[in-house]
């Protein structure tokens, strides 16, 4: 269990700002206690201080996970968000996409979202902006990156990709063993 070094914290925050924008501060400065980022085996965990003190009693070999796993550092040193971070991304996301029920399954199987599956999109979404994907009844499904800005979406043809898939809740089943 390590503190994140300054460089690594920066990488994590840069990644998170792509989805959260200014709401990143909400994660750091919480009214309900102190939360911090911890690193273990290249995975980054977002833990409250209380749980952290409890976890310190567990030996490092026996500790599988604690708090919320936000993602991991790849071997090349980049930070990659995991679907487990969705719990914190979804409520604070700046930009969102709602997916039609017909396209939900496609997305949950790991495909990009085509224009035809697009239900709603936040106004003024720029291109290549990190977004959180919701179903039409506001259930967070995953997150991705827009391939077109909102204005471009209007003129795009129905089969063109609107949003690149990055993670979806189907991964809880598909890549169960690699998530932790």
């Amino acid at each position: 269990m390590k503190r994140l070094s300054e460089e690594r914290t920066k990488l994590v925050f840069e990644k998170l700002t792509k989805y959260l924008g200014d709401n990143l501060k909400v994660l750091i400065d919480r009214p309900d206690g102190t939360y911090c980022f911890r690193e273990r085996k290249d995975r980054v965990y977002y833990v409250s201080e209380k749980i952290l003190s409890l976890a310190s009693t567990v030996g490092s070999d026996h500790l599988v996970s604690l708090g919320t796993c936000f993602g991991k550092f790849t071997k090349s040193g980049k930070f990659r968000l995991h679907i487990t971070a969705l719990n914190y991304l979804a409520p604070h996301a700046q930009y969102k996409i709602w997916v039609k029920p017909s396209a939900e399954q496609q997305f949950l199987y790991g495909h990009h979202i085509a224009k035809s599956g697009l239900g709603r999109i936040t106004e003024n979404t720029p291109q290549y902006q990190g977004i959180v994907v919701f179903s039409m009844n506001d259930l967070p499904l995953g997150f991705g990156v827009t391939s077109k800005s909102t204005a471009d979406c209007k003129h795009a043809d129905p089969m063109s990709t609107i949003c690149f898939h990055q993670a979806d809740i189907g991964e809880y089943i598909r890549s169960e063993d690699t998530l932790l």
């Binding site: 792509k18 501060k25 400065d29 102190t34 911090c36 720029p126 290549y128 800005s149 990055q166």
Partner: protein, 339 residues
């Protein structure tokens, strides 16, 4: 008379006969004065009276050996009779271990590998010199003297031998000295090799000297610091860094001090600062993007301004090829990537 008989008897008993009967003849090697008795011990006697039995047995065997010695050819040297021992037959085992073979010199090893053998077995040490009309040793005693006699006069303007203006005598002298020095160096090197002593490196370092990159890095770091000013004014290659593991040995390397562990509150403070600085730099970019009215110009400005951020987003197999797809102007169909 009784007394005389008794004395005689005693004498007979004390002087035992010189002929000894043995079931098996003793094996005797006069050269080494060795007698080996292969007869079986008399078990009963050995048990009941061990000492006397062994004493008698030894006496008998020695008697046989001495009988043999008396049969040898004798000589008289200064009023003493000396027997001449034949060559020993029995092979005595070595007292000391067999000496190890001498380690080969570099040349010998090379010759062995290449299968080079000197053709002449019994080379003579002397050669016939026609100038002096004498047999002259190839090396060593009297060789130098002979050379002196031979080369008492040297032609100066012989372009094949000497460069112009050089004193031929000094030239030959230095050549000889160099040869000797080289030979001495080789001798010492062979000695060092035989004793497994590490010699300092000579010449251009090769991959043999630096097995891995870390060793090379260490060498460059030490080399840079090996100036009078501890490498302060030494220029660096781009991206060149000091080797890490030798920082304690090399003066002038800046050691990074480990940060003291932060408390949770301090850490939070640091994170806050970091987040703010990131957001500040981020917001400027977002600001450029935001007020773009038309779609076409937005695209171009977006691809210009956001290229960096899009590059950072790596996501496995389904990696968005930021902006690359736009190069093909003819196909405006999106969807699955065709490759």
């Amino acid at each position: 008379m009784d007394v005389v008989n008794a004395i005689l008897e005693k004498n007979v008993n004390s002087n035992k006969s010189i002929s000894v009967h043995k079931d098996l003849e003793l094996e005797i090697d006069e050269g080494t004065l060795l007698a080996s008795d292969y007869n079986v011990f008399d078990k009963e006697n050995l048990r009941s009276s061990q000492d006397t039995y062994l004493k008698n047995l030894t006496r008998d065997n020695v008697q046989v050996l001495i009988n043999k010695i008396w049969m040898l050819q004798t000589e008289r040297v200064d009023e003493a009779i000396v027997g001449i021992l034949p060559k020993p037959v029995f092979v005595l085992p070595r007292a000391r271990s067999v000496p190890k073979p001498k380690p080969l010199t570099k040349w010998q090893q090379f010759a062995k590998e290449k299968g080079i053998t000197s053709k002449k077995k019994n080379k003579s040490k002397v050669t016939w010199d026609e100038e002096l009309e004498k047999w002259i040793p190839k090396y060593g005693y009297k060789k130098a003297k002979a050379d002196e006699q031979k080369e008492w006069l040297v032609e100066v303007n012989d372009p094949t031998k000497f460069t112009n203006g050089e004193d031929p005598f000094t030239a030959s002298k230095t050549a000889k000295r160099e040869k000797q020095a080289k030979n001495e160096l080789q001798r010492l090197r062979n000695l060092a090799k035989a004793k497994n002593v590490k010699l300092p490196r000579v010449g251009i370092p090769s991959t043999e000297h630096f097995r891995d990159a870390r060793q090379l890095a260490a060498a460059t770091t030490i080399a840079r610091a090996s100036t009078a000013s501890v490498g302060k004014f030494q220029s660096r290659l781009p991206k060149e860094k000091d080797a890490k593991d030798i920082a304690s040995h090399v003066p002038g390397i800046k050691k990074k001090r480990k940060e003291a562990p932060l408390s949770v509150v301090q850490e939070k403070q640091r994170n806050k600062k970091l987040a703010e600085s990131i957001l500040r730099s981020k917001s400027t970019i977002l600001h450029v993007d935001a007020p773009v009215p038309s779609t076409k110009s937005a695209k171009s400005s977006n691809s210009g301004g956001k290229k960096k951020s899009s590059k950072k987003e790596g996501k496995g197999a389904k990696k968005p090829k930021g902006g690359k797809g736009k190069r093909d102007l003819r196909s405006k169909v999106g969807g699955r990537k065709r490759r």
